[in-house]
Amino acid sequence: MTHRFFKDKGTNMNGIWKIILLGAVLAILILFALGLNNDPRNIPSPLVNRPATNFTAPALDGGPPVSLEFYRGKWVLVNFWGSWCISCISEHPYLLELANKAKMRKDFVIIGVDFRDTPEAAKAFLARHGNPGYKQAMDPEQKIAIDWGVYGAPESYLVDPMGTIRMKHTGPLFPGWFEMRALPLMEGGER
């Protein structure tokens, strides 16, 4: 019986209902498309384009404490990782490669932040998978990590020479990341 309501109402009412129905279906489809394209891992960080919080933390190698401010004037890749993190293993070969690249450049350095970890486990990880040689800050209670809005590992931030976070990368850095993502920002200059 319900269809009579639509049918008998004349062409005008019929048109309105058709438009409403079409609009509803379109809205659902659009929301669906947006949802599908959303990478649930890629939660936009509000920290991008804001000053990076400085940290000073004990170094893994027992040397002087690692401080972000010390590298002001250079582009810094801050890489959050842990020996407990599986994806960090897959990321590691690229970090080794990137560390070599950083040694060649005067304007780019890497700092690792090893969080929720013990020095022994971290050292074992580096011994097994290769030590890229850059400074590693220890963050056993993940205070720095939370201060930097980190969800998991690996996550990386690119800080510009002025100390502003310019990019966040969630998940392992992929081969070619530096040329594809970092260089355009670095050559675009400081803001």
């Binding site: 309501f5 939660i43 509000p46 920290l47 929720r116 209670e141 993940q142 939370i146 809005g149």
Partner: protein, 160 residues
């Protein structure tokens, strides 16, 4: 023996009440920690708050909340600390600012539109029912007359 049993049962009934009463005298700072942490999303869990979750991230976040409460920071400041770092996502309940009003207002708007549509539909149904019943009444009277005539005819025949 019965008396003893009664005492034991009474005790068993009352005991849980005492336990509950104990949790009511919670340290106000800890109550504040719970209040704040219950609203924060454990970012690595499925729809769990920082207070409820057992994940390492949530535990460390809870510790930070506790440290900040102990340091005497205000609730709004602590909430903002996490908001500045994790964005909107950190709140389990979306805030009522910006585009989020669609989330909050949408259902009521939909309910309103649905109510209006239902009202319009009911009006037209009522009209139709009234028209239909008027028509039925006409038909009934007609039938009644014909039927009476027919019955009369039959009766006449029988009498003859």
């Amino acid at each position: 023996m019965k008396f003893l049993l009664g005492v034991v049962l009474t005790f068993l009934l009352i005991a849980p009440l005492c336990v509950q009463a104990e949790s009511r005298d919670e340290d106000p700072a800890e109550a504040m920690v719970r209040h704040i942490a219950k609203d924060l999303r454990c970012a690595v869990c499925q729809n769990q708050s920082v207070y409820e979750s057992n994940s390492e991230l949530a535990k460390d976040m809870l510790r930070i909340v506790r440290d900040k409460v102990m340091a005497g920071e205000k609730e709004a400041v602590i909430r903002d600390y996490f908001f500045q770092r994790y964005g909107d996502y950190i709140y389990l309940e979306p805030t009522t600012s910006g585009m989020n009003w669609i989330l909050w207002g949408g259902p009521f708007l939909g309910l309103g539109i649905g109510g209006l549509a239902l009202w319009a539909a009911m009006q037209s149904w009522r009209k139709r029912t009234l028209e239909a019943s008027a028509k039925t009444q006409e038909t009934t009277t007609v039938t009644d007359d014909t039927m009476k005539k027919r019955i009369q005819q039959e009766m006449d025949q029988v009498r003859m």
